[in-house]
Amino acid sequence: MAASEKGIGKIIFSSSLGTLIEWYDFYIFGMLAKTISVQFFPAGNSTAALLSTLAIFAAGFLVRPFGALVFGRLGDLVGRKYTFLLTLVLMGGSTFLIGLVPGYKSIGIAAPLLVLLLRLIQGLALGGEYGGAATYVAEHAPAHRRGYFTAWIQTTATLGLFVALGIILLIKTNMSDAAFTAEWGGWRYPFWISILLVGVSIYIRLKMSESPLYAALKKEGTTSVNPIKESFGHKANFKMVLLALFGAVMGQGVIWYTSQFYAQSFLENVVKLEFMQNREILLWAIGLATPFFLFFGWLSDKIGRKWIMLTGMLLGVIFYRPIFGEMLKDANAKEWATQHDKKKELSLERSAVKSDTSFNLKTGLLIINHKDEDWEFDGNKFNEKKSDTLMPAEGVTMFAPISVMIDSTQFFVKEVTDVKPVYSNIQLNNSLKWKFIFLVWVMIIFVTMAYGPIAAFLVELFPTKIRYTSMSLPYHIGNGVFGGLVPFIATLLATTFTTDPLVGLWYPIGVAALCFVIGALYLTNKKDKDVND
């Protein structure tokens, strides 16, 4: 049943291209979330805020698993080819239409409602795409190379992120911020580009034939009548769905999300790296790590899937905190500023000292906000913002007039509290930048280990007639729910335990550790040579 070497190349290309485009479509919404929220979900409007929350949470958590069920069922009933063609059309169409919806300023509440609806269709389509593509390739692949061939599908999620990052950066660097964020500005281009990509992919996919294993079942009349009931209603199969979720996909989902998305958000919001450099680091790390999906897929054909996936999870458990901690320690603008006091004339330069100050009265105190200052130390650039709080002297109840107060602080002010300076827009020097690329690359290697062989593993776990349904649901719960919850739980932990900036990592570490234990105890390392049944 396996396709020829040339034939499998075409199958992989056409399946992977469509899946890559679906991931691209799904990511650009998240990456442009800030601009999108300004255009469609304005602050201060409670209905728009509610719709925004639904767009973020419902699309990933509720609709993706639901899409897995709907399209999984369809794929097992009518075939793989037409189902994942349909998901591609839905995804491409909804992405393109998001780019055409006028802003809130033009059509009011209809704008966020339309965007929410289209985002939900995106989630639904994504839920149906992956299982189809992985199944389709696996059912064409020879048994001894199934891991390697399906690993091409596994590269698409990361490459989709790469393409989305690249296209947004390209557009952003070629226009002003105002032109990019305008109502009909550059932020819409990535959505419009999608229709071209999808058009090409649909053309290619239309030329594909049905999976040979599924076609054989169809010919024999032995396809499933009710795949959802067979997948989850039959104890023997449901048992395997649970094992796939808790022993493999749950851990893989958090590793995948933490290494790629949480790393990016951590570098931007905690380390305070400058926007463009943050993206550049991620692009390099992804580009250099992507071939390892294929390597670990290939290796899984030789030594089995189980221990490669579990090792990726274990490495995440062991090394996440040291790696994130190292990045936080290295980009230490506070330390650089302290060094300045020690060696003023050496390399630290105050490049743009602005002496203006602004004032505001807050809770009865006068707060002086010094204007931002840009600094450079050993080739590292950063911005420092300081503010002083003036405490009133006894008997002084008001700080007015301010000008008098500033000129005569000794009469009116009891003490001046120098508030902790805030550092931002950190641009690392070349050697530190490459160190960060290496650290992010290492974390993406964990992803390639956990994620590279998993398509082959899932395909081998379930029989042909209910494969699409059975593997899609645990995959999207593992990735969409467990992985997608990383930022939410990280915020929850950071709010509860305020002293540890790395506390958010305990969630992915905990889930990956639990998954490692379950996987080590119950999974088998045996490869299923025959997926024809």
Binding site: T53, F57, F61, L242, L245, T495, L521, D533
Partner: protein, 75 residues
């Protein structure tokens, strides 16, 4: 170990509900202060936690000691 997985499920739901009650606040601006994400998360996590209990029960009964080697064993 099956019992551990069975007990873990209600513990997870308890902590989710407890965290929701603790963090939902009308004055907060973060996602964790809004009721909608919590409703979605608890709604989706409850069946997952029940799944973990069922998984624990199967594990406790030794049903994963020997995994099926062909699809016929799944039918």
């Amino acid at each position: 170990m099956g019992l551990v997985w069975i007990l873990l499920a209600p513990v997870i739901i308890f902590f989710l509900v407890k965290s929701a009650v603790h963090n939902i606040s009308s004055g907060g601006t973060k996602d964790i202060n809004q009721p909608v994400p919590w409703i979605i998360i608890i709604t989706i996590f409850t069946p997952i936690a029940i799944g973990l209990m069922i998984f624990g029960w199967y594990a406790f009964k030794g049903e994963y000691d020997k995994l099926p080697e062909s699809s016929e064993e799944l039918n």
